[in-house]
Symmetry: C2
Subunit: 589 residues, 2 copies
């Protein structure tokens, strides 16, 4: 019988046990050899004493780091002064009677748990070694507890875990699909799901009322730092609900997760911001509310500005918006301000106007001389600026000014450490526009997806002024990251058709792509809505990691490649031929 390292306590002193695990920190002290034995529970110090058990001491001489061993012996107290308070078993150790080497280990390409710079490719190639590090091991164990807690909660709430297909049809999220050639139906392709959106709605029409799934989803994107071609989603859908029902059960779930897994009591209800207000105050639809630096709208104040740039912009329908950086005079040198100008230009700004607040609320530097006393008084009143602050202005279209200041806000917060450590700020952003105009596609597109329900109050404007229509949608933001999003869905087949028309989706295309959902809505679909959460992203935040790769067991590189298995890889010609496809001549392998 084997015992786990961390199952041993001081009360076990004098008793005999067998442990199995990996050798760590082999130390040869002459007549004594010490190793730390590591199993999945933790670490226990093992002692081989030449004078007490000569045979096992001889065997111990052969041990090296990461050898796999079985050791039997007696638990004893560590000598006074040699305790390790950093270890759960730091007061005890095992004096070995017998040892068996279960497997050896070749020379390691890098040391476990060592934070030296080993390139990520090598770490991923030897992922099994990197996963032995405490940090990654703890991340994956946390992940297992995290998903199990979610399941326990949702099962307790009457949700059913229902599996949806992976070999399916293009989903309407709008990203590129991974395709799977069909051998039995040559010339046709399955798509791997970008989400189970259509299936979960079909399940509502089927009468399952409360569905969830923790499910892999796929997007063939040009990868950015925090994306993976496959990612895991907590997917939920409920019938006979409104926005508040979805919000309420989500908050209950996250409160439970934070309490049980982090020991943190989350304040409920979470803050709620209208999309319009989020854009206005934070220049983002996923504001980081852990710090202030709110964006102020100064358009009214500068309506008659003597600064032509401001005046002309306002007359063209533009806005003047600004951030007030407290103590900016001390934080920002003249050089810093010049650098900021370059930064905001990268964000799409034309320039960066600024003023310092001096004594007696007098403005200094930058565009100060163009600001009248009245404008100044209104400015101070509106922004709450005080002596030593710096105000940073954008004069541009609403969209650009908000976007630039939103990004500048994050930039300043990071640069000047305005974000409190260890704080978790939940925020709902609601009432997104239903549509937006895509300059790229030259047409109206859905902000979320075409199944999102318009707000009932805006239904009359649907055809006359679609861009003014809001949706029954909600995004959950944590520390400035969108961690989930959802909506109440359309359950009326007539309304669904109307939306397809506004989106200029031809009848034929709508029928081919989503026809089965439209059909289903005609057969007694209940009102329903749901939400989906990005599991990898959430875990990255909760584990305080910089990359989602650190919370995934076997992630791919940013080039969608797996150094461990060498996937994707070449396949033989027969396999390709059987699928009714061939490589293009221009494709280089």
């Amino acid at each position: 019988m084997r015992t786990l390292c961390e199952d041993i306590k001081e009360s076990d002193i004098g008793k005999e046990f067998t442990f199995k695990g990996w050798v760590m920190h082999y130390r040869d002290h002459g007549g004594l050899i010490f190793i730390d034995l590591r199993d999945y529970s933790g670490i226990l110090q093992i002692v081989f004493d030449e004078n007490i058990e000569g045979e096992s001491f001889k065997s111990a001489k052969k041990l090296k780091n990461e050898y796999v061993v079985s050791v039997a012996g007696t638990v004893r107290k560590r000598p006074d002064g040699t305790e390790n308070t950093g270890l759960k078993t730091g007061n005890i150790e095992l004096l070995v009677k017998s040892v068996e080497i279960l497997n050896i280990c070749e020379v390691l390409p890098f040391q476990i748990d060592e934070e030296t710079e080993v390139n990520e490719f090598t770490r991923l190639k030897y992922r099994y070694l990197d996963l032995r590090s405490k940090r990654l091991k703890d991340n994956l164990i946390f992940r297992s507890k995290f998903t199990h807690l979610i399941r326990e909660f949702l099962n307790g709430k009457g949700f059913f875990d229902i599996e949806t297909p992976f070999l399916t049809k293009s989903t309407p999220e709008g990203s590129r699909d991974f395709l799977v050639p069909s051998r039995l139906n040559k010339g046709r392709f399955f798509a791997l799901p970008q989400s189970p959106q259509l299936f979960k709605q079909i399940l509502m029409v089927s009468g399952f009322e409360r569905y969830y799934q923790i499910v892999r989803c796929f997007r063939d994107e040009d990868l950015r730092a925090d994306r993976q071609p496959e990612f895991t989603q907590l997917d939920m859908e409920m019938s006979f609900v409104e926005t508040n029902d979805v919000i309420s059960i989500t908050e209950e779930l996250f409160a439970l997760i934070f309490q049980k897994l982090l020991g943190i009591t989350v304040f409920r209800p979470f803050k709620i911001l209208d999309y319009d207000e989020a854009m206005d105050k934070y220049g983002s639809d996923k504001p980081d509310t852990r710090f202030e630096l709110i964006i102020h709208n100064l358009t009214d104040i500068f309506a008659n500005s003597s600064l032509n740039v401001f005046k002309d912009n306002i007359q063209k329908g533009g806005v003047i918006k600004a951030i007030c950086l407290p103590d900016g005079v001390n934080l920002l040198s003249r050089k810093d301000i010049d650098e900021l100008l370059n930064t905001v230009k990268e964000f799409g700004a034309k320039g960066l106007a600024w003023t310092k607040i001096g004594e007696n609320n007098l403005l200094e530097g930058g565009i100060s001389k163009f600001i009248s006393d009245e404008e100044r008084n209104n400015l101070i009143a509106k922004t709450g600026a005080k002596n030593g602050d710096i105000i940073l202005y954008q004069s541009d279209s609403k969209k650009i000014a908000e976007n630039v200041l939103g990004r500048l806000r994050l930039h300043l917060a990071k640069k000047y450490n305005l974000i409190p450590e260890g704080r978790f700020d939940f925020l709902w952003v609601v009432n997104f526009p239903l549509f937006e105009y895509s300059e790229e596609e030259k047409k109206i597109v859905a902000v979320h997806h075409p199944f999102t329900s318009p707000s009932v109050k805006d239904l009359n404007e649907l055809e006359t002024d679609p861009l003014s229509v809001k949706s029954d949608s909600y995004d959950l933001v944590l520390n400035g990251e969108e961690i989930g999003g959802g909506s109440i869905r359309i359950h009326n087949p007539g309304l669904q058709e109307k939306i397809f028309k506004i989106l200029s989706i031809p009848d034929e295309e709508a029928k081919i792509k989503f026809g089965f959902l439209s059909d289903a809505l005609g057969f007694g679909a209940p009102p329903h809505g749901g939400i989906a959460f990005g599991i990898d992203r959430i875990l990255m935040i909760l584990r305080n990691e910089d990359s989602i790769r650190d919370v995934i067991a076997f992630p791919k590189t940013q080039k969608a490649y797996c150094p461990l298995t060498d996937a994707p890889s070449s396949v033989n010609e027969t396999q390709i031929k059987e699928l009714g496809i061939k490589l293009r001549e221009t494709t280089v392998i």
Copy 2:
């Protein structure tokens, strides 16, 4: 606030509630309209009374089956004599005060819950309607409870739920892979996993010791009745274990499932049969042990048979084996025996010899006259045959005789109802051969997969007589269906290489296909083993269904096609081009 239909009890009589759900069984009785309201919890009878609530009665006139409604009213006792004892809420009903129609329903292509013959294609096309039937709904709810119970059990046992990739590399199960063309690495392909076998072994090398996952797997096979291109597996792996550890935790799991979900106490430990004995007595490596009809080996008895066919066959190294069908004289007419001959020929038999047992153990008919008294006495003693039984013989190679009689055994059991209803018979089959000779490939192949550990006792024969070597493997059989299988794995890289050599896998191929696992074994791999279970198959048995399609929410047809979504489907030329592939000219869309 909405209440669920089956949350209402007689103690709620007189109270007011609101229910939401679907209209079933609309009955217009003049001044009274009755409907059954169905939500996911169950059914409640709803009454609209013209004399009490005229307005809602008028609305009720518009209702049809499968309309979605919200009804508010007062719970009352049903009049004496109108109770429905088949319903949990059969003593009460709701007298409606107000009703709101939430959605209508078009004319149904088939009636919900009606067992009339609607072809499966139509049922799958309108899967959302078929899923409203009590049978399928209950199957999926059972499935959700089933998987959750598994997770609770394994989490309680210290297992970690760790997700493995879907976009990966060919796995070694030997079936055909589904391939996914890579856009970012053109000319290369991902494979969808046939199982997470390699990854779970890598996780053991990583030190996670106890892994599980309920995971989708994929096989691009020519589909048979009980196969789907995607299926769900409970996948487990443990470190520092032997066969008995895996068997023990499996039995504990199934005992819990049967107790909690079926109310059945399973007898433990499960029966264990050696592979050799299973083949000998049941002619199958997955015997159905719910009934006897054991196969007897009569080769010794007929060593000097006067029947040339027997004698010649034995001299060539063949066997004489037989089944004794109790009361066969009454069960089998002469015509039935002729039909059986055709049946066994389909199974690959050359013929079918038989004898009846008459009074005083005298043999009658068939080959009786070729059987000596001594042979007869031995035959009776060995088979336990008695007056009225029929003995059915096969004289052939061991392999064919056992296979034919194994299938004949099942055929007879089904035809003559020898299988007791409602019985669940678990059986372990262990000690499979490590290798077998593939006539097709003209070489030695692995019976399970190349990572299966040989039995320690047979290690010396590995190179001299590989086909005699047994493996540390175990299959779990339930009612004659293989529901799971696994093995202790090789953790020694040298032994692993030796196995690849015996399997004539060239070094280069082994390196490309499994090199990362072989490498990993060299870096301190612990002894480990595991098992995987077919979730769909198990659910089919527990739910007493004939097809796994009835326990899957959105199954595909036997042609791997989804009538609901029309997947797989055509995709546009741009999508295909981006992947660096094109359709072959001969491929007809």
